[in-house]
């Protein structure tokens, strides 16, 4: 049987991809950010060794334009190419999908009342490739297959935190009913506090971000009830991406244990947050 063995939360700032691609991860600016991921890279390589990552992220006007806006979309393809986001695609390996697991989750979710959009072909942008670089470094080939799960966090209303958590629970049920023996991780990406628009741009909130990280650990589900307006007021207009971390948290079940945690301000316009969680059964 497939099982979800761990959850990872991480920011996916595009500048982190630039730092990796230009070999700047050890400099004064990026060094402290990347240091906080060293533990995770080693753990992924030597201990966790996932077969598949369900990677919850959002597309930033790359695969989807303003025309079609799926709230929750799942990638069921065999492979995905890094997107050209306006300055050429990142020079990172293509992403291998897990079409069997993707389709199994898609079908299970629809039967479980989550009306998913299914994607066969798409390019994946920094929202997906930056977390892969942060967790896996710079291999010739990504060590795990990926089931992309794209969430609309751009056009309002975006899904509620509660709905994201419930989707995570349904994903866990779907994974558990997949017959093949697979070690599956789920990653929630985006955030933490940042605002990329308007006169209030540049807002960061260390205190609130860390409260959010605290709330992901243990057996409380209070975090699922934080309303959108609180994310917007406290963490900036783009801080809303943190609802995607709740898909990850919901998939880990009633209780979690924290294996690793990291927080750093700033990276470009954004606060970097990272957490590794294990389900407690």
């Amino acid at each position: 049987m497939a099982r979800i063995t761990a959850g990872v939360g991480s920011s996916h700032v595009p500048l982190l991809g630039v730092a990796v691609d230009q070999g700047k991860t050890g400099d004064d600016y990026f060094g402290p950010i990347f240091k906080g991921y060293e533990w995770t890279r080693q753990w992924e390589r030597d201990t966790a060794k996932p077969d598949v990552v369900i990677l919850v992220y959002n597309d930033h006007a790359s695969a989807f334009d303003a025309n079609i806006i799926p709230t929750f979309a799942i990638g069921c393809g065999e492979h995905y190419k890094p997107a050209d986001e306006g300055w050429g695609p990142r020079n990172v390996p293509d992403v291998a999908g897990h079409a069997d697991l993707g389709w199994h989750i898609a079908q299970s979710l629809i039967l479980d009342d989550f009306d998913m959009t299914i994607i066969n072909e798409m390019d994946v942008d920094h929202g997906l490739t930056v977390p892969l670089s942060m967790m896996f470094g710079t291999p010739d080939k990504w060590p795990a297959k990926v089931v992309p799960l794209a969430v609309n966090v751009v056009t309002y209303p975006v899904p509620s935190g509660n709905r994201c958590w419930a989707l995570g629970e349904a994903i866990a049920r779907a994974v558990e009913s997949f017959p093949e023996d697979l070690n599956v991780q789920i990653w929630g990406t985006g955030g933490m506090s940042h605002q990329l628009q308007g006169p209030r741009a540049g807002l960061l909130n260390r205190e609130w971000d860390n409260m959010f990280l605290d709330m992901l650990v243990g057996d409380s589900d209070a975090v699922r009830h934080i309303p959108h307006i609180e994310y917007l007021r406290e963490t900036g207009s783009e801080g809303i991406e943190m609802v995607m971390w709740l898909v990850m948290r919901g998939a880990l079940g009633k209780q979690t244990k924290c294996l690793h945690r990291h927080y750093h301000i700033p990276c470009s316009n954004t606060a970097i947050g990272h957490i590794v969680l294990e389900p407690v059964t």
Binding site: P14, A66, G86, Y156, Q195, Q197, G202, L203, I265, N269
Partner: protein, 134 residues
């Protein structure tokens, strides 16, 4: 229904210096955003750079929005329904980083904005609510 949609949307207007990308803005700015999206193709970037006005005239965009696009007036573009992830295609065509383009929407110069970010960013204190002033 868990929350009334009108109440939900009204709350967004109480956040200082912020235009939440609501469905109303997405409708208003649809062609601004689709135009920006077209700049993801190298050949379109070349054509746009050669004659910006002529390229914009191919799109059903209002004169006001064309003017704002030509002036790179990003706050006005937000008011006209532009979204920053789409508009980023325009500022990357200009060779601007995200942080530099974002700084043009504030009352700071880019070096001032960078200095603020290095010191921990803009504080949420007093920036959460217009009515509440907290």
């Amino acid at each position: 229904m868990k929350q009334n949609i009108h109440e939900y949307l009204a709350e967004f207007e109480d956040i200082p210096g912020t235009r939440v990308y609501t469905a109303a803005r997405a409708r208003k700015g649809y062609w601004i955003n689709q135009f920006a999206m077209s700049l993801m193709k190298a050949e379109n970037r070349t054509r746009f750079k050669a004659d910006e006005k002529a390229y914009l005239d191919e799109w059903p965009i209002s004169d006001e929005a064309k003017e704002a696009l030509l002036a790179r007036d990003y706050n006005r573009l937000l008011d006209l329904g532009g979204n920053v992830y789409f508009l980023s295609k325009l500022f990357s065509t200009d060779g601007l980083s995200f942080a530099e383009a974002v700084s043009t929407m504030t009352d700071m110069s880019f070096p001032e904005y960078q200095a603020m970010m290095a010191k921990g960013g803009r504080s949420p204190e007093g920036n959460r609510s217009i009515k509440g002033g907290y």
